[in-house]
């Protein structure tokens, strides 16, 4: 059975489809009017006598203005409506569940905060906003879920994000939409949207690798990051406690927000943004740590920041073990 319209399985799908219907309605109207006019004129004014030369019809300025202004007004609705959906797509809600995606030729590697890892599959609970933080190990890919009507490129050297709330339990296509080489068309997978209970069972059922933050902490120790980044701020490098999401004053005088991208850059290109008051001592960890490892470190550093309202760090025990 050939479908003619894709299923709607996210909060964005009905919104995008409504905008599509508006555009279709406008397009069909214009097409019908133009085609009808052409057919009518072609028949009504077909050449009836040889040697016929019709009188010239002079330009009507009012008509010209009307057929510029009216379509322009209709297109501005297309612009505004489309932009409002786009803006919403670019602003994940604060309570969204974080999942991390690494694309490589030709597979999707996915890590859940709880530690579950999957390849070319993504299990998510229905009804919860999901925020994906994505990067690529090699070339540009694009994370495309037609049933959700969302797509975002996955670019090497930076993090991109996308979010959606799945609204319907089921199994949906995941496609790589940016041409990425020989097996581009094989870089596909499935999104499994599950009832929350089933999702919990799935989370518990898999092999436990430890949570992402725990793995990040192990990596933090293996790479001896704590030798300089001491938790109490007495080290040669700034403390990472409470760093995430805060503004950071740089040696250049600029201020940046310590988001995922900033932390990634600081690990791989430490000289790019040096914190005010510190020396550029840190070596690069490019090549020493994988993109997945960097994501684990990011999640660990995030865990050192108090959740809004809770007033304490999430893992005080870890901080103690680090500082001693």
């Amino acid at each position: 059975m050939t479908p003619l319209f894709p299923v709607q399985a996210s909060n964005f799908a009905p919104e995008v489809d409504h905008l599509l219907f508006y555009l279709l309605a406008v397009s069909v109207c214009f097409t019908v009017v133009i085609f009808a006019a052409i057919f009518f004129f072609a028949i009504r004014y077909r050449r009836k006598a040889p040697g016929e030369v019709p009188h010239a019809v002079h330009t009507g300025i009012a008509l010209e203005i009307a057929w510029m202004v009216i379509p322009f007004g209709l297109t501005m609705v297309m612009f505004g409506w489309g932009a409002s959906i786009f803006f919403k797509e670019s602003r994940p809600p604060d309570n969204a569940m974080n999942i991390y995606v690494v694309g490589k030729q030709w597979m999707w590697k996915i890590q859940h905060a709880e530690g579950q890892r999957e390849i070319n599959e993504l299990h998510v609970p229905v009804g919860r906003p999901i925020r994906l933080t994505m990067t690529s190990e090699d070339v540009i890919h694009s994370f495309f879920v037609p049933a959700f009507r969302t797509k975002e490129d996955v670019v090497p050297g930076r993090y991109s994000t996308t979010w959606w709330t799945p609204t319907k339990v089921g199994k949906y296509h995941l496609f790589c939409a940016e041409y990425c080489g020989t097996k581009h068309s094989g870089m596909t997978g499935w999104i499994y949207v599950m009832e929350p209970g089933d999702y919990q069972a799935w989370l518990n059922g898999g092999r436990s690798f430890g949570s992402l933050a725990e793995n990040g902490e192990k990596l933090f120790q293996d790479l001896a990051c704590g030798n300089c980044h001491k938790m109490d701020g007495s080290g040669r490098c700034p403390t990472l406690v409470g760093l995430f999401g805060r503004p950071v004053q740089l040696a250049t005088g600029q201020t940046v927000t310590a988001d995922e991208g900033y932390i990634r850059e600081s690990i791989l290109q430490p000289d790019a943004k040096v914190v005010a008051g510190y020396q550029p001592l840190m070596p690069t960890f490019q090549g020493l740590v994988t993109e997945e490892g960097v994501l684990q470190l990011v999640e660990y550093i995030k865990s050192l920041t108090p959740k809004p309202g809770s007033g304490t760090t999430t893992t005080p025990a870890e901080i103690n073990s680090e500082t001693h």
Partner: protein, 541 residues
Amino acid sequence: MTTAAVQERENYLNASYGIKSWLLTKDHKRIALLYLFTITLFFALGGVMASLIRIELLTPQGGLVSSETYNKLFTMHGVIMIFFFLIPSIPAVLGNFLLPLMIGARDLAFPRINLLSWYLLVVGGALALFAMFAGGVDTGWTFYTPYSTSYSNTWVIATALGIFVAGFSSILTGLNFVVTVHRMRAPGMTWFRMPLFVWAHYATALIQILGTPVLAVTLLLIFCERVFHIGIFDPALGGDPVLFQHLFWFYSHPAVYIMILPAMGVISELVSTFSRKPIFGYGFVAFSSMAIAVLGFLVWGHHLFVSTQSVYAGMVFSFLSYFVAIPSAVKVFNWTATLYKGSISFETPMLYAFGFIGLFTIGGLTGLFVASLGIDVHVTDTYFVVAHFHYIMVGGAIMGYLGGLHFWWPKITGRMYPEGWARLSALIIFLGFNLTFFPQFILGYLGMPRRYHVYSPEFQVLHVLSTAGASVLAVGYLLPLIYFTWSLRYGKVAGANPWAATGLEWKTPSPPPVHNFDEIPVVTHGAYDYSTVAGEVMQVG
């Protein structure tokens, strides 16, 4: 047969003979024919690749060719069709032949540079063909980094070099046209007496001159990164991969207007001639070409909505993209209004004009979909986009090219094409085109990504429809090749003005003499004044 009578009068075709008289010619009309021959070969080659792609997509599992080969096929199809067929098509063939004739000049401003332009296209094309036969290239015609600079093991440099060289052909042609229009108009040929074909080519030439150098720079940067590992685009070398997309589309979006504006110029001539009416809103149609050329440079970022470009940049580019829609719509409305109270006849060129308006309307309206951020996030890089740009570039540009070729065929060759066969092929092309590309809109909205060798089985029915359409389309394209060739020898001899058209090109014999006009005409009327051709109108009927 009246062959003897035709050959008695000296014209640009029989003035000299031999291979050298063609390869070293400085006559814009002969150079136009060199281009015609060259780009027809490229069109055939690109068409064979399109056919292989469509046959491959009959089945979802990708059994006919390997993924490597499939990727090379769509890459070379795009490279050949865009850089070696569509961009030179109307300007270099019809524009070259007609621009001097239409403004009452004896040649283009720089005849030697005109010949050089053709050689540059040939050299560029030869490099691209070399790359193709040496092993091909698999980056897509878009050459996205870092795949093209650090990952692809194919003939990227040779192909890029071919496009680089062909780009200079385009720049020089544009330069030649701009200077010719400024400096070589006949007495009385004021700017607002120029045919709209000339206005469209003037606007196109500006894009060729201003846009193509950016493509050249971009390809040079690819070369630097691929050969010398200078980090420009690859983040592993410290570069920015999205920067490439900005540079590439800064040329390649306006390049779409290099392909469509000349076709719009052709359609204006056809609609006027076959309804015997001046184009309604001449000034608006002329300025809409200029508006498209200028605004076309401000919208490149709409190819980057999901590229991690800033959200606000995305909004600005979406907003500006809708401004380009208006001058395009103005043209369609004015062509339609021209038909009102006209005297409409249905020779083949007019059928192509109707086909163009229909397909361009659909292509243009679906452009509104992809300019809308919310929709584009879903449909970008799917078959929806593939369908959209084929409606513009095949449904629009090629319909315009074929319509123009039929219209001016008697002027170029001195012979008429067979009307019945030509009408049939116009109909076949229109139907085949729609059957090929309309299902792709549905495929795209369903989520079928472009550039997929293997695909999910639920998309197969629509792919089969598309392939069926492509075989009809192939027949439609083969027919003109056959009957045009046939007509060179057996076609009815054409008079100077077989359509009772108003342009200066119809005031000189068919085929024109070497220097175009025995006496440079003095222009006293606007472009579409049918009172000036009352005598021809009586003859033609």
